[in-house]
């Protein structure tokens, strides 16, 4: 993982490396008007506008944090030549040309050792080394050099943090902990110290050190001052701490932890969110356990959670303006009961809502879904029949007919036909009708509906043509599907399906010709198409050709999964050890 990921969680999978290519590095681009001393006013405004647009774009894409950016004020302090050199390096960094970028940063360091940007260049050089998987060089020659030569620079605490993080990423837990401890001791209030604590949480989780894990999370939740960049890691920690306490059956403590990171109004949403409070998921885990004490903890948590949401319902019902919040809290109670396996109580909640607030489509929808899950389709349909939005209710009734075993296609289609009487929404319902026919094993009727749609809804003609071809493909009517695919434009899927159809018809040469066209036009699919050629040759009994093709895959695509398959097939099926191939990472 690259060292500039800003948030980490011990329980969640690590977030993907925020590639500077997607904008991480773009955010630190200095405003271009700083690059040129004098210029036309119009050109200047144009450039400013471009910068604003670029920054806006970055803000939407890039999670670039304080780990790899230099402030605009510091950019402004750079001399023109320094800025030029640093920009050149930054451009290469953004393009993920790590080797070239590292050389440019190194050049900057040699030329402008005392520049304001030198520490930053050293930091980015180290990032390049990490991306080149030269983590030892990054630590010793990069981050450590930064600490030695620029100990007072704003990058110094970051370098300390990244030493720890890089050690952690190469499996050296002890030096990582040492580095984190140094950062915490030297810069206790800095963002890097907070991140160090969060990383230590992750290490504690990995080492099953529950005591340290809980202590660090508690500190980050309650004790660390949240200001600027330190807020985000503390929020993450509070959510982790909440989940930890929920798992122990302690609802109140978890709620308290979550309340440190959001307003009271947002609390229900934070509780129910699968990645934040994750209350329903944890309730499900605990109540589903075979261990009796764990199960009891789960039931305790369920009751405590439901009771808290009930207080929210009661409080919000008093004011008509907050009625939607009350209803949402009710749904949350039902959701918690569902995860706890208390389905009767879940149903009782829906009935309670209807009795108190009267029937509305959302609650009726929940209730009908409950009936469907509990194999009572007739009651579900009756409930859908009570929808105020009649069309939606009828659509759901039709869907329930389709979901039955065996599907009652004709009943469903009859409803869809009725709904299609409204010309504005006809394509949607006719599409559903065609799909119902397809699922019900009536491809001819489905195709007839799609043909009807082609004439009535010309805009979607291409999509309907593809659906006709897909219907024939699924129905294994190979000749017709080849003809149908010829009229479609969803390359390369259409070609691959045509090739498969030809193989089923034992027209191997035609299939191979189609695969070759895919190889020529779509290099991304080349290896898989080549493998399919080999399989086709095997089916045609041309084993020698198949072996040649398999060797070709090994030779040309040794880094792909198809290369692996071809190698294994040559070894296992043909007992050929000489497979060709070979590459370097």
């Amino acid at each position: 993982m690259a060292p500039f990921a800003t948030t980490l969680s011990a329980e969640e999978p690590l977030p993907p490396t925020p590639s500077p290519k997607k904008g991480g590095g773009a955010c630190i681009t200095p405003p271009p008007f700083l690059e040129e001393g004098v210029g036309g006013r119009g050109r200047l405004f144009f450039r400013i506008a471009l910068v604003v647009l670029a920054l806006g774009f970055c803000a939407t894409l890039a999670p670039a944090g304080p780990l790899d950016e230099m402030s605009v004020e510091r950019w402004a302090k750079l001399k023109e030549a320094e800025r030029f050199q640093l920009n050149a390096a930054e451009r290469l960094f953004r393009e993920s040309q790590w080797k070239a970028a590292a050389d440019e940063y190194e050049k900057f360091l040699k030329l402008y050792e005392r520049s304001e940007g030198a520490a930053f260049a050293q930091l980015k050089w180290s990032h390049c080394q990490v991306n080149l998987r030269r983590q030892n060089a990054a630590i010793k020659d990069g981050y450590q050099s930064l600490l030695d030569y620029y100990p007072e620079s704003p990058e110094a605490p970051i370098a300390g943090l990244l030493i720890g993080r890089t050690y952690r990423d190469i499996g050296d837990a002890k030096p990582a902990k040492k580095a984190y401890a140094k950062v915490i001791a030297a810069h206790p209030k800095h963002f890097a110290a907070v991140m160090s604590r969060l990383d230590l949480v992750e290490l504690a989780a990995k080492e099953n050190d529950t005591e340290t894990y809980a202590r660090l999370l508690r500190e980050l939740t309650y004790d660390v001052e949240r200001k600027g960049a330190t807020t985000a890691p503390c929020v993450t920690a509070s959510q982790q701490y909440a989940r930890l306490t929920f798992r122990a059956g302690n609802f109140e403590e978890g709620l308290k932890a979550l309340a440190t990171s959001c307003s009271e109004a947002q609390l229900p949403h934070h509780l129910m969110h699968p990645s934040w409070g994750a209350l329903p998921t944890i309730v499900g885990e605990l109540t589903g356990s075979k261990d009796e004490p764990t199960k009891k903890n789960g039931e305790k948590l369920t009751d405590a959670g439901a009771a808290w949401f009930k207080t929210q319902v009661t409080a919000n019902l008093k004011d008509p303006k907050t009625k939607p919040q009350a209803q949402a809290a009710w749904y949350d109670i039902a959701e918690i009961r569902r995860h706890a396996g208390q389905t009767d109580k879940q149903k009782a909640v829906y009935e309670d809502i209807i009795a108190t607030l009267g029937p509305d489509d959302t609650t009726l929808g929940y209730l009908a879904r409950w009936y469907k899950v509990h194999k009572q389709p007739e009651l579900a349909r009756t409930t859908y029949g009570r929808f105020k939005d009649v069309a939606e209710g009828q659509g759901q009734i039709a869907l329930s007919y389709r979901e039955e075993t065996p599907p009652q296609t004709d009943k469903a289609v009859a409803i869809y036909r009725q709904l299609a009487a409204d010309v504005k929404v006809a394509p949607r319902w006719l599409g559903e009708a065609a799909m119902a026919y397809r699922r019900g094993g009536k491809p001819d009727l489905a195709i007839a509906v799609y043909r009807e749609l082609i004439t009535s809804d010309a805009k979607g003609a291409d999509a309907y043509a593809i659906e006709i071809a897909e219907t024939l493909y699924q129905a294994q009517r190979w000749k017709e599907c080849i003809a149908a695919y010829r009229g479609t434009n969803n390359f390369p899927t259409n070609y691959l399906h045509m090739a498969t159809a030809n193989r089923r018809l034992k027209q191997y040469d035609e299939a191979i010709a189609l695969y070759r066209q895919v190889i020529a036009a779509s290099p991304a699919n080349a290896s898989s198409a080549l493998l399919q050629i080999a399989y086709t040759q095997e089916e045609a009994g041309k084993k020698e050709d198949a072996i040649k093709t398999l060797k070709q895959i090994c030779d040309k695509h040794p880094k792909t999964s198809e290369g692996s398959t071809a190698h294994t097939r040559l070894n296992d099926v043909y007992k050929i050890p000489i497979t060709l191939g070979g590459a370097k990472d």
């Binding site: 080149l132 998987r133 030269r134 983590q135 030892n136 060089a137 990423d169 190469i170 499996g171 050296d172 002890k174 030096p175 990995k206 060797k551 090994c554 040794p558 880094k559 792909t560 999964s561 290369g563 692996s564 398959t565 071809a566 190698h567 294994t568 070894n571 296992d572 050890p577 000489i578 497979t579 060709l580 191939g581 070979g582 590459a583 370097k584 990472d585």
Partner: protein
């Protein structure tokens, strides 16, 4: 034509002949399966172990036949001696070979009427043996408390698990049998089987102790980076054209110190105090080798035998043996200090190594699966944690081996894998390998490792490393195959150096 009668003396002679023949065959057959040409015929010779095993099976059957014969004879003799000699006594009718009698049993085991051929002995045997079997089965579930003394005791019963099950079955059969003869026969079979098993284990027990030893070669090599390529710079020397008739005389030619050799960094290996005089290794001895090594010790390449059918792919001649040969070619001073042949061991043997003399590295290759039992995993865990070993994993095919191996290593190391840096010492010494070479990327193109206390305990190569060590090098380019050899040497060197350091630190 006279028919052949198998008299006891002839049977004894044949049994003796079999034993002699078996012993001879075990000596003649090779250690590994091989192909021989004989008079135009291609013969596939099985390995020595296989011949030995078949011999033991036949020996058991011969012993079994002798046991039955002698038991029957002795029982008949005893029963006939117990028949009343009075003329007016009622005749005794034999049922299923068993003489009906109401005499009190004796203690003679050949006597079917012996006191202990009742159901009690069988029941006791059944319960005892079944308990042993159950305890051994329980020890396969480490989550029941692998650290407790009881659990360790149960784990110790693993080798006799199936013997206990067989004896329990025999005990149960003895208990439920109604005929004394049957009880006697079953008891004797059980006793004979037990005795035979004991003899078998005694015969396979090594003299003195059953612990294996991996001795490192003694010496004092070094692991300074080896030059991959030497940049030669021409040194332009000043040439003096000397006129012998000139009045100018030269006192001496230019001193040698003034000649600038101009070596590049890659070739400037400097001597350090205490460093040996070359070859692979570390220490202050003579030649290549290790400080903790012993005379006669050798660098060996050992692979682990496991349940996957591809465990032995690229094993032996024409395969991983080439790596050992390459090691000697690249480090001529290691000649005689590197084993001639590669070896294969099973989990039990790996567990039997002396605690401070286990192999530094064990190779695990496979294509389909990697599914060691709970006991096997304990052996692997003990090997890497307590015995400072290292595992070199190699994914040889596109099956589930790759994911299985990762899961097992996560379990036994208690940590998760990390990418091995390109500039890690394992990729730098003795050879600099800036990029991972592989044959085909079965499991991606990044090497992963598991690190404990700052040491790589597992190196996982994702792309058929040992395929490149074969004679045919799987048809890949020579330069990549060469790098695969260098990587193999680096891993061997790393593991041996780490083990040497550890061994020295363990010395009193």
């Amino acid at each position: 034509m006279r028919s052949f009668h198998l008299t006891p003396s002839r049977a004894a002679l044949l049994s003796g002949l079999f034993v002699a023949l078996w012993g001879g065959l075990v000596l003649v057959f090779p250690d590994k399966p091989s192909v021989a040409l004989w008079d135009g015929l291609v013969l596939v010779l099985p390995e020595k172990q296989f011949v030995a095993f078949i011999g033991w099976v036949v020996l058991y059957l011969i012993g079994f036949a002798w046991g039955i014969y002698l038991l029957e004879r002795a029982a008949k003799r005893i029963e006939s001696s117990a028949v009343p000699t009075r003329d007016n006594a009622r005749p005794q009718i034999s049922v299923s070979g068993e003489a009906v009698g109401n005499r009190r049993g004796a203690w003679n085991p050949f006597d079917p009427d012996a006191r202990y051929y009742g159901p009690a002995l069988g029941i006791v045997c059944f319960f005892v043996c079944m308990s042993l079997f159950a305890a051994a089965v329980v020890s396969e579930f480490p989550n029941l408390g692998s650290e407790s003394a009881v659990f360790k005791l149960c784990a110790a019963l693993q080798p006799v698990k199936f013997t206990a099950l067989i004896l329990a079955t025999a005990g149960l059969a003895t208990a439920v049998a109604r005929s004394k003869r049957v009880r006697q026969s079953l008891s004797m079979i059980a006793a004979y089987s037990l005795l035979f098993t004991l003899v078998y284990f005694l015969a396979h027990r090594r003299s003195g102790t059953n612990e294996e030893e991996y001795a490192l070669p003694a010496g004092g090599g070094n692991d300074s980076p080896q030059a991959m390529s030497v940049k030669v710079q021409k040194v332009v020397r000043k040439r003096y054209v000397i006129n012998p008739y000139s009045s100018i005389t030269f006192a001496a030619p230019p001193p040698i110190e003034n000649i600038d050799v101009k070596l590049t960094d890659e070739t400037s290996n400097r001597y350090q105090v205490g460093m040996g005089d070359g070859g692979l290794g570390q220490g202050d001895g003579e030649g290549g080798g290790f400080g903790s090594g012993k005379d006669g010790g050798k660098i060996r390449f050992i692979r682990l035998r496991h349940s996957d059918k591809s465990w032995d792919k690229n094993f032996g001649i024409g395969g991983d043996r080439n790596l050992l040969a390459e090691l000697v070619v690249r480090f001529p001073k290691m000649n005689g200090k590197v084993a001639d042949e590669t070896e294969a061991i099973d989990f039990v043997t790996l567990g039997n190594y002396k605690p401070k003399a286990a192999p530094p590295v064990v190779y695990v290759g496979g294509a389909g699966t990697f599914a060691p039992s709970a006991t096997d995993k304990r052996v692997l865990k003990q090997y890497i944690t307590e015995r400072h070993g290292m595992i070199l994993g190699d994914t040889l095919g596109g099956g589930a081996f790759h994911s299985n191996f990762i899961a097992v290593m996560n379990e036994i190391t208690g940590t998760t894998r990390v990418e091995i840096p390109r500039d890690d010492p394992i990729h730098k010494r003795p050879y600099e390998i800036p990029q991972l070479p592989f044959v085909v990327a079965h499991g991606g193109s990044t090497p992963y490792g598991w690190k404990l206390d700052g040491r790589w305990v597992v190196y996982h190569h994702p792309g058929a490393l040992s395929d490149a060590w074969r004679d045919d090098r799987a048809g890949i380019k020579k330069v990549i195959a060469d790098h695969c050899y260098l990587l193999g040497i680096n891993i061997i060197s790393y593991a041996h150096r780490e083990h040497d350091q550890w061994r020295r630190s363990q010395q009193p």
